[in-house]
Symmetry: C2
Subunit: 338 residues, 2 copies
């Protein structure tokens, strides 16, 4: 599928979804829409993902050269910026499908719905939970696959990235591994999935379990994308629901180097790694016993020496094999996971 | 407010909401609608709540004698039974407001919406979250009130009952205490509140925090109604969100005597009381330290001797003051809570 990614004024530093899609999705990205960086290429900013031209608008891409327009940024509040309307309109007139993770659902927008109908385009609002979700039955452990869940010390520590890297490398090593996505970027990359942070709270675990049951007998390994952190004042409910819904066999603890306080100014200090290990394991135990067997440290932005030192310190504190999967690859972790 | 409670074919044993309202709400209940037990009175079945006649239908009550019709049962799935339509129609024609905790929202029912408009009746769908909910800020601990949260070993162990009994008796002892309701029955009793199990999962903690901030500076004590259990495979997400959202100063561990397996056939054994204490306390610790200071045991259905023995055993295992608040009153608990 040939995809254009809308990322106006945000590419690359504030376009996490666009970058995730460029890095991991099985899409052919034919252009990034960013009126601020137009004229450059992706490779001018980010060396290690697929390259594509950056253009000002959808009209700069040729009709017939794009199959879908993907909204690759998520503004605070998840609203639709009126300045994007012309691009979406043009995309629909080109017959492109829409893929969006905004809280504002494009399929409920009257103009877009009418155009989508006229040009026979599909609108996929990734963050709209489907209607059949329900409570968990506590049976995710009945699937054939070994279930591996990334859990975090905090938000934005690299759980999605670790999940994607581990699954890809496991596949490259010849294993039958699949990703169970739980957030908007993961869902866009994988092309399916429940937006676990947007479902009815009572269905949190159920929405994860449903995915495990759907894929768990078709693969040898499922890598489940974790969310938030079990001690995050705002997001722990989702984390807890994923932990109990996934009934994972093994956990990967994800952390960001030099993170001393939890994200978003909550005034909560990051406790010891052993505290996290104890919490995740003791909370999982009555439902389905599991262990943190390895760790993934995000050292983005550190110099090489500092990164190496940070990984060593993390490994020592965690008392398990650990690494930065982007900087040093996943071999060290896959040895204990597969 | 004069209220009729619809509880067809379920009163009293399967009408938890109706019983909760009869027992705790500040409503004048003028009749129970139950076509199966019609002709009896509430007092024929339940001695210790307000009495009311049981009638077959809304038409058996006089127009002008009722201010609101409350749906007092919650069928599996939360749907609206077509056989109730005539009663709701009659209620609206009487000018009664509607109060419902069904998943099926009565305000979205075309016939009821039209009638409500015509007869100037309000429709309150208790389980419909309001639109302004958002993520928690982690600031519930800034309120003046001492926050006391009931936490459970399981679903259906008496958290709502313990919350209501403790708050009522605290008020009777001269304290300024209020309830923060989190479920449909509690919300109906108190006349306000967020249905925490129905909100967007990311807003679970936020929906509790919002209530604490709303009431926390107006009272000396807030008794927060807990939900589920931190080890329940389906409902732990909501429990975790309430724990972190409420930032409680003290916890009351609620348990049901002779409960050996978690509710609803999940195949999960009830672990030791110390396991629950450790889990709730260690999970709360990084966000806002708190302790289980007392316990409430539900001994419903046991003979007096067995109940006494069960309470003693529970107290010994918990190593905190504990009792059955319905059977023996709340004094023993309020001593350590206030």
């Amino acid at each position: 599928m040939r995809v254009a990614i809308l990322a106006h004024e945000k590419f690359p530093d504030h376009a996490k979804t666009a970058l995730g899609v460029l890095r991991y999705a099985d899409y052919d990205v034919v252009g990034i829409l960013d009126r601020e960086t137009a004229g450059n290429r992706v490779s001018d900013f980010v060396p290690d993902v697929q390259d594509a031209p950056i253009v000002s608008s959808m009209a700069d891409l040729e009709a017939g050269s794009v199959d879908a327009l993907l909204i690759g940024i998520a503004p605070v509040g998840g609203g639709f910026d009126p300045s994007w309307r012309e691009d979406v309109r043009t995309g629909l007139e080109y017959g492109c499908d829409l893929i969006s993770g905004l809280h504002y659902f494009l399929e409920d927008d009257e103009e877009f719905a009418t155009l989508a109908d006229e040009y026979d385009a599909d609108v996929w609002d990734v963050r709209k939970p489907h209607d059949e979700l329900t409570v968990a039955e506590g049976v995710a452990d009945e699937v054939d696959a070994e279930v591996i869940l990334t859990v975090g010390t905090d938000c934005s520590v690299g759980k999605m990235t670790a999940t994607m890297e581990l699954a890809r490398d496991a596949r490259e090593a010849g294993h039958d591994a699949a990703v169970v996505p739980t957030g908007q970027t993961g869902i866009m990359i994988e092309g399916w999935g429940n937006p676990v942070d947007r479902v009815v709270s009572d269905f949190t675990a159920g929405s994860v379990e449903e995915m495990i049951l759907e894929k768990g007998d078709d693969h040898d390994y499922l890598f489940v994308e974790g969310q938030g952190s079990i001690i995050h004042p705002a997001y722990s409910a989702v984390t807890c629901g994923i932990l109990h819904g996934a009934m994972a066999d093994k956990l990967v603890l994800c952390h960001a180097a030099e993170r001393e306080m939890l994200a978003y100014d909550y005034g909560v200090a990051v406790p010891s790694m052993q505290t996290y290990v104890d919490l995740y394991e003791s909370l999982a135990e009555p439902v389905h016993p599991t262990s943190v067997v390895t760790g993934a440290l995000n050292t983005y932005g550190l110099e090489d020496d500092d990164a190496r030192e940070a990984v060593d310190a993390f490994e020592t504190e965690l008392e398990k094999p650990a690494t930065d999967v982007i900087r040093y690859g996943t071999d060290h972790l896959l040895e204990v996971l597969l």
